[in-house]
Amino acid sequence: MSHDGIHPEPTSFWRKHVFSVDHKVIGKQFMWFGFAWLAIGGMMAMMIRWQLAYPGTPFPVLGDFFFPGGVVSPEQYNTLFTMHGTIMIFLGLTPLLIGAFGNFCIPLMIGARDMIFPLLNCLSFWTLMIGGAVAFYSLTVPLGGSEAGWTGYPTLSTTVGTQGSGETLWAIAVFIIGVSSIMGGINYITTIVRLRAPGMTWTRLPLTVWGLFFTSILNVLFLPVIGSAMILLVLDRVFGTTFYVPATMAEGGAGDPILYQHLFWIFGHPEVYILILPAWGYISDFLSFFSRKPAFGYRITVGAMAAVTILSAVVYGHHMFTTGLSPMLGESFMLLTMIISVPGEILFFNWLHTIWRGSLRMTTPMLFSMGVIFVFGLGGLTGIYLATISTDIYLHDTYFVVGHFHLTMAASALFGAFAGVYFWMPKMFGTVLNEFWGKVHFWFTAVPLTIVFCTMFWSGYAGMPRRYYDHTYVEYLRDLQHLNVITTHAALLLGAAQVVFAFNFIKSRWFGQKATDNPWEVGTLEWTTASPTPYFNFQEIPVVHCGPHEFSNPNIPGGADWIFQTDVLPGEPALPATHAPAAEPAHSA
């Protein structure tokens, strides 16, 4: 097949590296963008933790640049945790997990030369860039950045609670970022449906692609909901409407602040799965790759992910148990939330079964994948306390919740992303990340991270509310201060471990050992092409003859324990091409 019909290879610097329409370049752009914001959001976490352990003392070294006298003020503290949440979710993890790997891996793994809408892809990244710029700018306005929490509940987020343009800019930024995610989602879904190589049937897709597929569905369905919530908020703030301002207030509205909570969590709960589904997909593949065993119960895994995708839309009420939901609604949401643990548990069952009696290669991506089992196990199981209304009433809005959601949506997603970085590095940049420093990075991340969030469970259980500027102000919380100090020490160590990663990444990227075409010995399509990947990905559009996980299949000839998806397994007929979609429908039109 020729290269005719796809966008021609650009020659100018701008078209090549900046406004590129090549999915690989865009994937890398998303990656750098995500790394930069993870660093900013992570630094904010350090400042938050410092203030909580040593309230009123100057933040070391950097404090003087950001805070008067080096000490975080209550207003700045609120901005810090608001922006920490917003940045980590929308500008750090989403671009890295979905933007970077979604873009880079989907076309390569399904055997396509690019995304189906290359220009939309480029637009998606630059829209996100604008969203990031607005979010960054919101920190610099005279009255300070947003202070209403990443959840931005009215009426605190309306002019009743926060003055100035910081909050407005925050809402606009979230809206723009949402638009970017929707563009990405549409592109991913259409690409996966339309551009699969001949023979790449739905049941031969790598689980990575399945994870990204379900995430994209959630993105397309639920980002519009938060988008509309943000529009109403901006209207309330700027144009004096009262969608969220009730009649009882001096401002004399006719709205309802609880409306926002419904809109926010209709989006907010699926957002957890938007971040976790790709990570589940990656590690489902990696656990199979590095155990040299097929992914156990492939169809059941896909079914469980589909079930989670559907259920995630109907459980959001568990965030509002103390808001004033009717008891019947509350009990329904409790039941539905509990049901989600069934597909969740099936995934664990399949992962553990995949590594059972395998031939384990304990590489860094494997360690991080097992790390996901550990942290998501801890985070998922503690979710039972919060799904149960009668225990949630006490634990809601305490550090228990903070520990829980960091383990599920932050730590698991981050570990999944790290596993992906270590795994796809050879294909993305043509070099290998140093394994030794990768393992140092893993252990110095995993151990402190577990301490950070487990001490949070403890302090939350003991009654420490979240979003407090200074716990020592409250008398009875003073005997819990030692827990805060432990958490902070562990968090600082966790932050330091990421410096190890940054050095390893930069050093390996430019001075690292050159990668072979298939260093991990796996069979998915991206490894059939060169490292780093050539411009049009594949010389010829590959024809797929088997699934992604035929490891240790006794029929593989020549003593190897793996074959490419393009290889024909002896004894099995090659799949007729009629089963596959047309190779390049849109491009050739």
């Binding site: 031939s359 149960t388 299949n553």
Partner: protein, 320 residues
């Protein structure tokens, strides 16, 4: 630099030394736990020299340490409400369930890590896990997990809700027996309003207090909560009680104190930069002392009543 690097390298390569490093790591992190208080002792700073530099001239809340002895705590105080033990019981029950589950996950994770490492000439067991037996096994496991983990917890939670948290006194007789309080949150204080001796809201003897609520022991306290400005959340940890105070709507909730004494009231919902300062006090008095207090407070309230001060008349007309 080179020698340091190779030293670290060797330490981490040797598997026995690896555990020493992990131990040291734990020691650094956990050091403050062994000192009496963050500021009362500086022993933990020796273990974390990076932090020590910044803390040298910072005398962290030394005056607070003088004011009250710091007790270390890892859990909540004993429940002080009639339904409080339900939380503690269910919390412990779930803890046992998930500890067993998590232990199982860890065992199933670590057995392959130790046993199934890649060795030359050793092939993995080939199994797609797609046979009917596998599907059956998966189904059995998930049904079991749902029944043991979820259905059981769900069952106990429903009982707790029906008999405890949602069993709000509502009937005429029940309300007469209960002590009714209206709660109005604002940035940044809790306003409380009780009926006073006449048992009616909106009269001259209504007891209106700020940041201090006094209630009788062993009588249900029925609270109606709302807010003047932003969302607040009335949090009484000892009573295992929490309910949002929303602007524009009234929330109903209850608890029955079974212990007398002073308890902390906090605000659990982010409500602005002084969110952490909405600390108030709940005083629970035994019946006889409470009646005395209520009579006195009503007299004082009547004496101080000013019909023109509409600001103070925030009793809600939804009752009429």
């Amino acid at each position: 630099m080179h020698t340091t690097g190779s030293l670290v390298l060797n330490v981490l390569r040797s598997s026995r030394l690896r555990w020493i490093v992990v131990g040291l790591l734990a020691a650094v992190v956990l050091a403050p736990a062994s000192s009496a208080h963050a500021s009362a002792s500086s022993t933990h700073l020796a273990a974390a020299p990076v932090l020590a530099v910044a803390l040298q001239d910072a005398d962290v809340d030394a005056d607070q340490a003088d004011a009250a002895p710091i007790v270390k705590r890892y859990g909540p105080f004993e429940p002080a409400s009639s339904y409080g033990h339900r939380f503690d019981w269910l919390f412990n029950f779930i803890t046992i369930l998930i500890s067993v589950s998590f232990l199982l996950v860890l065992i199933l994770l670590f057995i392959p890590v130790v046993r199934d490492r890649a060795k030359p000439n050793k092939k993995a067991h080939f199994d797609h896990g797609s046979s009917l037996a596998d599907k059956r096994f998966t189904t059995i496991v998930s049904v079991t997990v749902f029944i043991v983990l979820d259905a059981l917890v769900l069952y106990f939670a429903m009982i707790d809700l029906r008999e405890g948290y949602w069993n709000i006194p509502r009937g005429e007789d029940e309300l007469a027996e209960a002590y009714q309080v209206e709660v109005l949150g604002q940035q940044w204080a809790w306003n409380f309003r009780a009926t006073g001796a006449d048992g009616e809201f909106g009269t001259a003897d209504d007891i209106v207090t700020i940041n201090h609520l006094t209630v009788p022991q062993n009588r249900p306290v029925v609270l109606n909560l709302a807010s003047k400005d932003v969302i607040h959340s009335l949090y009484i940890p000892d009573m295992r009680f929490k309910r949002d105070a929303n602007p524009g709507a009234v929330n109903e909730a209850w608890f029955e104190p079974i212990k007398s004494g002073d308890f902390a009231i906090l605000c659990a919902e982010l409500c602005g930069y002084a969110h952490y300062q909405m600390e108030s006090t709940l005083t629970v008095l035994p019946a006889d002392l409470f009646d005395e207090w209520e009579a006195d407070a009503s007299i004082m309230a009547t004496a101080g009543y000013d019909e023109d001060d509409t600001e103070a008349q925030w009793a809600w007309d939804f009752r009429n």
